[in-house]
């Protein structure tokens, strides 16, 4: 600092605006009794395929909806609409991640009390989404068996920001000589005690356990609402 200057204290969080909106969203989700799950991964890890199966399998028993983020196209919303669940696409233009304000405006026109589960599929990106709270209750980070066992070590921040690791495309595990033990060790190294789920949305392997896990999490987060509905 040169002698001609002085210091003014500011102390302001750069993500403050996002955090304020995310906090308001979380409160809205809680008030409406909807359990919100977000999904992050690199492009091509199988977020949309898993989400399509999830919506289809949950829909007979729960009221489900989804928001899906991409830079461009409505392709994912069209795919997910096959599940018959309400789906909205968020196209971010050139922005590489979803922000709480995008979720907030995408929800306009929906009554959140109409849903038991809301899924938010983030833009395929393992870097930027880690900085943005979307107000979700549970954040899943997906990685497919084809991505290499050291992925968690290469992208520790996103794994650290998530609650659950979902290993996808288990049906390809043998072909790529997937080493589940090494992945589990790497995940535990960057995020000790993280829950790990292994599945294949295509073959159905592991899907029952995954859905039971989601349901149990919903019960844990929204206990009052569950008893009211059953």
């Amino acid at each position: 600092m040169s002698s001609g200057t002085r210091i003014i204290e500011v102390r302001q969080n750069v993500f403050k605006q996002n955090d304020i909106i995310a906090r308001a969203l979380r409160q809205r989700f809680r008030d409406a009794g909807v359990f919100v799950v977000s999904m992050v991964s690199s492009p091509g890890s199988g977020k949309t395929t898993l989400l399509e199966r999830t919506l289809t399998l949950l829909r007979p028993h729960y009221r489900v909806a989804a928001l899906v983020g991409d830079l461009a196209t409505e392709n994912d919303a069209v795919r997910l609409a096959r599940s018959q669940a309400p789906v909205k696409q968020i196209t971010t233009g050139t922005i590489c991640h979803l922000e709480a304000a995008m979720v907030q405006s995408a929800l306009e026109g929906w009554d959140l009390a109409d849903f038991d589960f809301l899924f938010i599929e983030n833009v395929g990106n393992l870097v930027c989404p880690s900085s943005y709270d979307l107000g979700e209750d549970l954040r899943l980070v997906l990685m497919s068996v084809t991505e290499g066992e050291d992925k968690p070590l290469k992208y520790p921040t996103i794994f650290n920001s998530a609650d659950v690791a979902v290993i996808t495309k288990l049906d390809l595990a043998a072909a790529v000589e997937f080493d589940g033990g090494t992945v589990a060790r790497n995940i535990q190294s960057v995020r000790p005690s993280m829950v790990i789920v292994e599945l294949s949305a295509k073959s159905g392997e592991g899907m029952d356990e995954y859905l039971e896990f989601l349901k149990s999490q919903r019960t844990a987060f929204r206990p009052a609402d569950i008893s009211a509905r059953s």
């Binding site: 600092m1 040169s2 001609g4 200057t5 002085r6 210091i7 003014i8 204290e9 500011v10 102390r11 302001q12 969080n13 750069v14 993500f15 605006q17 922005i95 590489c96 991640h97 870097v127 930027c128 880690s130 900085s131 070590l153 520790p156 921040t157 996103i158 650290n160 920001s161 535990q188 190294s189 960057v190 995020r191 000790p192 005690s193 993280m194």
Partner: protein, 115 residues
């Protein structure tokens, strides 16, 4: 790569503070950047040079203080530095610890202004 939008937010915060105080000539913005903020220091410094163009902060510098990760270690019963992002354990005893107490910061701490 979201550092550009982060840099623009930093400039916005500084501009608002300047307006609130009736106009300041800002020569530097001091920022605290946590290990787990998801923002890369070098990319942010580069983005700041672009973002400051045509703003009242065009001549300002961004000064980044990196904040290390700190966890609560249940074995040591205290705050301890984290080994690294890839080895998220107590740097002293190696115990697994998931409770982060410091390291997510991304905060404009202060402005350096002309007297």
């Amino acid at each position: 790569m979201h550092e550009l939008s982060v840099a623009m937010s930093i400039i916005e915060i500084a501009e608002e503070e300047s307006k609130r105080r009736g106009g300041l000539q800002i020569s530097a913005v001091h920022l605290r950047l946590g290990l787990l903020s998801g923002v890369v220091k070098d990319a942010l410094l580069f983005a700041y040079e672009i973002a400051r163009h045509d703003t009242p902060l065009a001549a300002s510098r961004l000064v980044v203080e990196e904040v290390p990760g700190v966890i609560y270690c249940p074995a040591c019963e205290g705050r301890r530095p984290v080994g690294s992002l890839e080895w998220f354990c107590c740097a002293e005893c190696g115990s697994l610890a998931s409770e982060l107490v410091q390291g997510k910061e991304l905060e404009v701490v202060s402005l350096e202004v002309e007297k």
